[in-house]
Symmetry: C2
């Protein structure tokens, strides 16, 4: 959570002159999103989020994200909407960075999700997957098995400084995952980063999703396992099967999993744990000098990886 | 600009249960204020700022600040208003810290004020001073001449690491200021920190003041000189007499300065520069390990101090 870019008055005024949004009434940097600079911006026409895309986001991907947000909102899950400029474009430039105004989505993220939150999330995620099945844009998932291997290889020499034997442990897991990774499950555009930060609630129900900047094409059931890992473990790292069952049952009530998908859940969950472990480990070992953001402890995901390694069927997740 | 305290869901819900504000619809940490943690908080009843007072604010002073904000808003200058809980209190506790909900003030701070902004500020500051004359609370200014001496004494041994000869230069200035410091000018509650960050504008006119946490009793003309130092120098450190004249003329159109006040402006401006120089120098020399906030360069205020040292009358500030 950080604001990286300082926006001068005249630059902001020049950016807003491209829109037809009346008078600026509020502008505040907000501590949301780790990849971009985000601002709360209000005008006489409404409330918005101004996002400046910092260097970790590929400019060429931005039209995909913008189109996806429009498509998803029209088809079942609320999310912020890009606001078009007078010339029809939804992407501008501000302080030398690509920048977009998106509508303000009401709702509050939860830090300690309950089973009831997981149930509401499961239904919303299934509606999201149904909506993206008809979406025409595509974006390759650079952070799948081959990408994990690249990141892990760069971290292996120092992995044991984080935990004794971690290099060998993770190498063994990744070999297993690569061997078992399914190839023919239903695919679509997945969110790929649906942590509690990125899901808003109103009155206990999902009000929408935010932060689509990892969205890509991959297996729908893999997205579900990313959620299960992010939402269904307790702060003491224990797996909460009540929450997992709530998430999966609610998902299946909207979009039933195929037998092949159900069979694959354990390896997909293990891969989903590996996905976040390799990036957290890499970030942990490569903190830039003077960084403002504290990297997340990789050990949380080591524990999730170990849990899923021991799972032999989706029954462990509460799936009948 | 920073958010220091992480607020868990259940703690926030318990805090809000004391208010009668409907359903929570948005909650975001905002990058505003360096002393406290601030959050944008919306409910079905309106928009608010939630402030958690971190350790640099003295709890015993909070009722003074809250009462002042109420008094000022009723008497001429818009500012955020403390929201009373169901039991009538305006101060609660959240995450072990004193916390208050205040109303959201529309407006945008400017980073590069124009002469027109300075003119609007001058009139608003004069109205603020007229309003505080009738305010009954008092708070001693701990950051006046004697306080500067304490801070400077602690910085002297290492002051020359910032600029050659700075220790001798500042000691000489502080001796002059202490000798010349006026004792019988009109007093009242001053804002004492009215930098561009703390003044909001709408359509080019001041919409209100924020951040009253340095407010205290002192000379009104000293507050005006704090503003002149903060608003009327250019990024290249040149004094902009057009902006100063705009500020001072607009102030005097509402609250004319007495002859004694006008005579004292140069030493008050020099003291106002010393005030921010001693704290910036102290903070520069005492950055805590792992600090998230970069201290401000003290040299900006060294240059302002030198400028005012050379001034012999208020005519240099555009005052007839």
């Amino acid at each position: 959570m950080a604001v990286y870019t300082d926006v001068p008055d005249d630059a902001l005024a020049a950016f807003l002159a491209h829109f037809d949004l009346g008078e600026l009434t509020a502008f505040k940097g907000i501590a949301e999103g780790v990849e971009n600079s985000n601002f709360y911006l209000a005008t006489t026409a409404g409330r918005f989020i101004l996002t400046l895309y910092e260097k970790r986001v590929d400019v060429a991907d931005l039209p995909f994200f913008m189109n996806l947000m429009e498509h998803v909102a029209r088809n079942g899950v609320a999310c912020p909407q890009p606001v078009a400029r007078k010339d029809g474009a939804v992407l501008g430039t501000l302080c030398g960075r690509p920048a977009a105004l998106i509508t303000f989505l009401d709702g509050v993220s939860v830090r300690r999700p309950s089973a009831s939150h997981c149930r509401s999330l499961g239904a919303a995620l299934a509606r999201f997957h149904q909506a993206t099945e008809r979406f025409e844009g595509t974006r390759r998932n650079a952070l799948s098995v081959a990408g994990w291997r690249v990141l892990l290889d760069q971290s292996l020499p120092r992995a044991d400084t984080v935990a004794d034997g971690l290099a060998a442990e993770m190498s063994g897991d990744l070999d297993d995952i690569a061997r078992l990774w399914p190839r023919d499950l239903p695919q679509g555009v997945i969110h790929a980063d649906l942590f509690p930060d990125n899901v808003f609630f109103l009155a206990g129900e999902v009000s929408g999703f935010i932060d689509f900047y990892f969205a890509c094409n991959d297996m729908l059931a893999y997205d579900l396992m990313i959620c299960m890992n992010a939402w269904c473990f307790e702060p003491d790292h224990a797996f909460n099967v009540t929450k997992a069952k709530a998430l999966l049952d609610a998902y299946q009530a909207v979009r039933p999993l195929s037998e092949a998908e159900r069979m694959a859940l354990p390896v997909l969950a293990r891969g989903a744990a590996m996905r976040f472990l390799v990036t957290r480990l890499y970030d942990w070992l490569n903190v830039p000098e003077g960084a403002l953001v504290t990297p997340k402890d990789p050990m949380e995901y080591v524990r999730k990886l170990r849990f899923h390694r021991s799972v032999t069927s989706a029954r462990a997740y509460g799936v009948a």
